[in-house]
Assembly symmetry: C2
Homo-oligomer: 307 residues x 2
């Protein structure tokens, strides 16, 4: 995971220069898109991110501010001649919506959409490759809603060239040493893994929670996560409205971040009623200091721990 970029920090109602939910993660040479509110394809273009490098799209739920931009984005992929597979994750019904629109518009996509329906009440592995694992987990909203948990895999250690030469370590054992093995010389001397390698950075993890009235169980599901995005649609002064609409306040998001002991909390999905976002940030920071405001164009670097 390289960075997270916020493309839209708004909620259901359009307001000023805030756009509906969309976030993008850079991972190696590809991009993972999380939610896709109306107009997201324009935000992606503004961010100068190549459409073809978007390989995976994760939709949390079927409220419009989280997916009304998806048909347009997928159509543009098609019109631009994409043939590369697209992996799409989302709730039951999402493919029905897309297929109906493609059928009625007479569109036969040139590329495959490989859809995985996300469901259930546990943290569930939905995708893995040699670099990351992605899990879905349930959120608590008015309709079925799932968050996504991105977990980097442990990368192998880097061999120290100097040591390789010093002990004349043959090719065929180097792979194992990278993975953690010691080297045993012909005379029986053990050269430890630690002496021979520079450890890979600790893998980081990131969880995305949008549209959620926080339940106790979420803490178990997200145990150990490094970085957290959590919606902060309201402030404490609108606590009752937050409850009623199955959303969270800035303070509640911060309490979750504090309980989880994350390194950084990013908030977003602000109600249209808040013109100025600083009070939301302040409210969150009073509970959990390491809060930052998500806003259009904001980029959070995972590799530098957010610095």
């Amino acid at each position: 995971l390289e960075f997270l970029k916020i493309l839209g920090c708004g909620s259901a109602l359009p307001v000023g220069n805030r756009y509906p939910s969309a976030q993008i993660i850079k991972n190696k040479e590809r991009y993972l898109l999380i939610d896709c509110g109306e107009g997201t394809q324009l935000r992606i273009r503004e961010a100068k991110i190549s459409f073809i490098r978007i390989t995976h799209i994760f939709i949390t739920h079927l409220h419009g501010d989280h997916f009304f931009g998806l048909p347009g984005l997928l159509s543009s992929f098609h019109l631009l001649g994409r043939t590369k597979d697209l992996y799409l994750y989302g709730p039951k019904g999402l493919m029905d919506i897309l297929e109906l629109q493609f059928r009625l518009s007479g569109t036969a996509l040139r590329y495959q959409i490989i859809f995985t329906e996300v469901s259930g009440s546990e943290k569930t592995l939905i995708m893995q490759d040699n670099s990351i694992e992605v899990y879905s987990f349930p959120l608590n909203h008015r309709i079925k809603c799932h968050g996504y948990f991105f977990q980097e895999k442990q990368r192998p250690a880097t061999l120290l060239v100097k040591k390789i030469k010093q002990y004349s370590i043959p090719d065929f054992v180097r792979g194992k040493i990278k993975e953690g093995a010691d080297y045993i010389m012909e005379n029986g001397t053990v050269i430890t893994h630690e002496e021979l390698t520079t450890p890979a950075p600790k893998p980081v993890s990131f969880a995305y929670c949008s549209d959620n009235k926080i339940k106790q169980k979420l803490k178990e599901l997200l145990r150990g996560v490094d970085y957290l995005y959590h919606e902060a649609t309201f402030m404490e002064s609108e606590k009752e409205r937050a409850k009623k609409t199955y959303h969270s306040t800035a303070s509640e998001a911060a309490t979750l971040a504090k309980d989880l002991g994350v390194k950084q909390l990013i908030i977003g999905h602000y109600s249209a009623r808040y013109q100025n976002l600083q009070p939301l940030l302040k409210e969150s920071q009073q509970v959990f200091k390491n809060t930052v405001l998500g806003y259009e164009g904001f980029e959070f670097s995972f590799t530098e721990g957010g610095k």
Copy 2:
């Protein structure tokens, strides 16, 4: 019909500062929206047009650049508390798409959508009230597509206060005189309608043709129209592509305008390949001088004959 405002003059692919199809007509104190590409709700807000005054929406066909903004706009109406009926016109399938999305998002609209399916190969009256008549008519595109013909009704003449006094014309006959009757005095003298009134302005008509490979029959269907919007997706140099994709060139649109003898042609729906639109305008004007470029924010006044 007061004015037509272009909210989006682009076509399927997003490009620079061009947006997908959307046009709005001001008629009395209400607005009629024609097509609703992705992001149209933002364009409407930018134009400072009140959502609640949009009473009728006309969708030409189910290609995404003409309706992907509709679910978002209808959702915003709902979220803003609209209870006023909305009249929606469009092809078969449009309501299926909307209903599926509303169902899956758990949305029970607070207002009624009164949907009229548009179909058939003739000019068909789909709506009328005391001010206008609206007809649909078939266009020739890759999927079912209909244009819309807006016809003002003849307004009654205005009585001349001076004459009313001069001839002491009683209240109960004034309505009839407005509608065209002469006034017969008690002594039998006939005072003509013309002497007693200022005639109402001649009613104007406007036809909207988007996404269309022009067929001969269209000339019959649009006979007598005053103002014409017709797509000019391509230039003559891309004539073959226009044919293949069931679109028109600027020159073809102009030829239609010329044959119809309209007062003004507005072109739009430009292919993303044209960064500069002036060559399209020039090409059209070579055939039909009274062409103007439709572009975001362009406003065409019907009452002043486009001046």
